[in-house]
């Protein structure tokens, strides 16, 4: 109700917290949710078949029994390779429009925002808090926290590398020399993403404080209290935008309702003062 929007997170009253807890706000577009889970399923299949494909004793990461199990599951190593390639190409085709059209609106605007001092401190305090070594409050964050942004940067460097090297191998493009390096770079890029995925999956699916974030990848919404506590800068942006929208709307209402103008002068200074 109050139109005073705090600059830094302030303690909430019980009623405020209760009201915010029951107010859902939209965080993810349905397209993002679908792409996320398509990506997750693809990665599960591609990583599990990919690990089974590397059978050389010099390079493999999976034990013999795992490789034998997957080879048996698919009937032959040729089928295993074909499945890996077919799913990989499907993945690339689905991601091309997302990469091309989503880059401007979604990624550059949100995921790849440059990190600031708050982000750096967030990463440090978050780690210490998880390990029970700190009780300091987390610095305020935007729609994505510093951990999510760091992971997205790894993903957005490594994903094109995985795709390009994968296509080179699938069609044996250019020279055998390049295919040889493509195998190595493919493995490297996937390895770096998996290192990030370990943290991503733990924070998303296991870590208790981030549970609303996990469910937001299903429903698309988070409760306002979670947004306030975990993504304060985003919450504040939304509030400011909402306020600006209300103020743009008000003059029209004034014409219809004569009792409104009396309220407005009282509110206006309050709204401007925190700026």
């Amino acid at each position: 109700m109050s139109s005073v929007i705090p600059v830094t997170p302030a303690p909430l009253t019980t009623e405020q917290a209760e009201a915010m807890l029951h107010h859902q706000i939209k965080k993810h577009h349905v397209a993002i949710i679908l792409v996320h889970w398509f990506n997750a399923i693809t990665w599960i299949f591609e990583v599990s078949t990919g690990a089974a494909l590397i059978s050389s004793r010099l390079f493999r990461v999976a034990p013999d029994s795992y490789i034998a199990m997957f080879t048996g599951l698919f009937g032959s190593r040729a089928n295993l390779l074909q499945f890996h390639i077919a799913l990989g190409l499907t993945w690339i085709i689905v991601f091309l429009p997302y990469g091309l059209f989503g880059y401007g609106t979604y990624l550059r605007a949100e995921m790849l925002k440059v990190t600031d001092r708050d982000d750096m401190r967030w990463l440090m305090i978050r780690t210490l808090r998880i390990l029970g070594k700190s009780n300091e409050p987390l610095p305020p964050q935007g729609i994505y926290n510093a951990g999510q942004k760091a992971f997205s940067m790894v993903v957005w460097v490594m994903t094109p590398l995985v795709m390009v090297t994968g296509v080179i191998m699938a069609f044996r493009l250019f020279s055998p020399w390049l295919v040889g390096w493509a195998v190595v770079l493919h493995f490297f890029a996937v390895g770096m993403v998996i290192a990030g995925l370990v943290v991503h999956v733990y924070m998303g699916a296991v870590f208790p404080e981030e549970k609303p974030a996990f469910f937001s990848m299903i429903t698309g919404t988070v409760n306002e209290l979670f947004a306030y506590n975990h993504h304060f800068k985003w919450w504040r942006e939304m509030k400011l935008a909402h306020q600006a929208w209300e103020q743009r709307r008000k003059p029209k209402d004034d014409a219809a309702d004569a009792s409104e103008p009396e309220k407005e002068p009282a509110e206006k200074p309050a709204a401007d003062s925190p700026e």
Partner: protein
């Protein structure tokens, strides 16, 4: 179980290259890249006692094939009968096996962009025929058969006629293509075309020595970190969070 081997009598070989032609026709491989080829040693000795001679080479189906291990996908493997094979459906054409072969028996087929090499004409053997090069050889200089068959020609040539493997002190991987000839003739061939040390490509070396340990290290470190976080979480209990 059979143990297939081939014997080439260099005393009979006239370097007509019919084996190369038969091979490239049988397997649709460009002739200049056939699975078997004939080379002639440079001249050796002092005039008028000059020596030179042909050498027919192909995959040796070694007892300890160095090409099997570096193949990332397992496309190269050795059958129980000793034949080293390439599963073209699994080969990705990375070329790791090409440079590792001491006998330069492997190549990337430009038509398929996959690795290609002699497989002792496996489909012909299964039909009960001889390999194409053996059947074609105009001088009958090539013999193919089971080394373990004590009544067989190949067994006799290897164990009683002294057919030789082309291997050196340092590079001895047990090739199963044997050669018959005058000792100095065979010495000249071996000196002219010695097996080279198995060489793993830079990409393979980088993968084995740098990238694989790095990836295992980084993923392992995050797993350990998350395990520590998980047990801290279990220890603390899921108390206060915004819900």
């Amino acid at each position: 179980m059979a143990r297939y081997a081939m014997v080439t009598d260099l005393r009979k070989c006239v370097a007509c290259k019919a084996c190369t032609v038969a091979c490239s026709a049988e397997w649709d491989v460009p002739a200049e890249l056939a699975r078997t080829h004939v080379r002639t040693t440079p001249l050796a000795g002092v005039f008028p006692n000059l020596k030179s001679g042909p050498c027919v080479s192909q995959c040796n189906h070694c007892d300890h094939p160095p090409c099997v291990e570096p193949c990332p996908t397992g496309a190269t493997y050795q059958d129980a009968d000793g034949i080293v094979r390439v599963d073209g459906d699994v080969c990705i054409g990375c070329g790791f096996c090409v440079d590792v072969c001491p006998y330069e028996a492997r190549f990337i087929n430009p038509r398929t962009k996959k690795v290609d090499k002699c497989d002792f004409c496996r489909p012909r053997i299964e039909r009960g025929e001889e390999p194409a090069c053996v059947a074609t050889c105009t001088a009958h200089a090539k013999y193919f058969g089971d080394l373990e068959d004590r009544n067989g020609e190949v067994h006799r040539l290897v164990f009683h006629e002294g057919a030789r493997r082309m291997e050196t002190e340092t590079i001895a991987v047990g090739p199963n293509v044997y050669y018959l000839g005058q000792p100095e003739q065979l010495d000249l061939v071996l000196a002219s075309f010695p097996p080279r040390p198995p060489l793993l490509l830079t990409a393979g070396e980088a993968w084995k020595k740098l990238v694989r340990p790095l990836v295992i290290g980084v993923v392992g470190a995050t797993l350990v970190g998350q395990a520590a976080a998980f047990f801290t979480q279990l220890h603390k209990g899921e108390g206060d969070f915004d819900e």
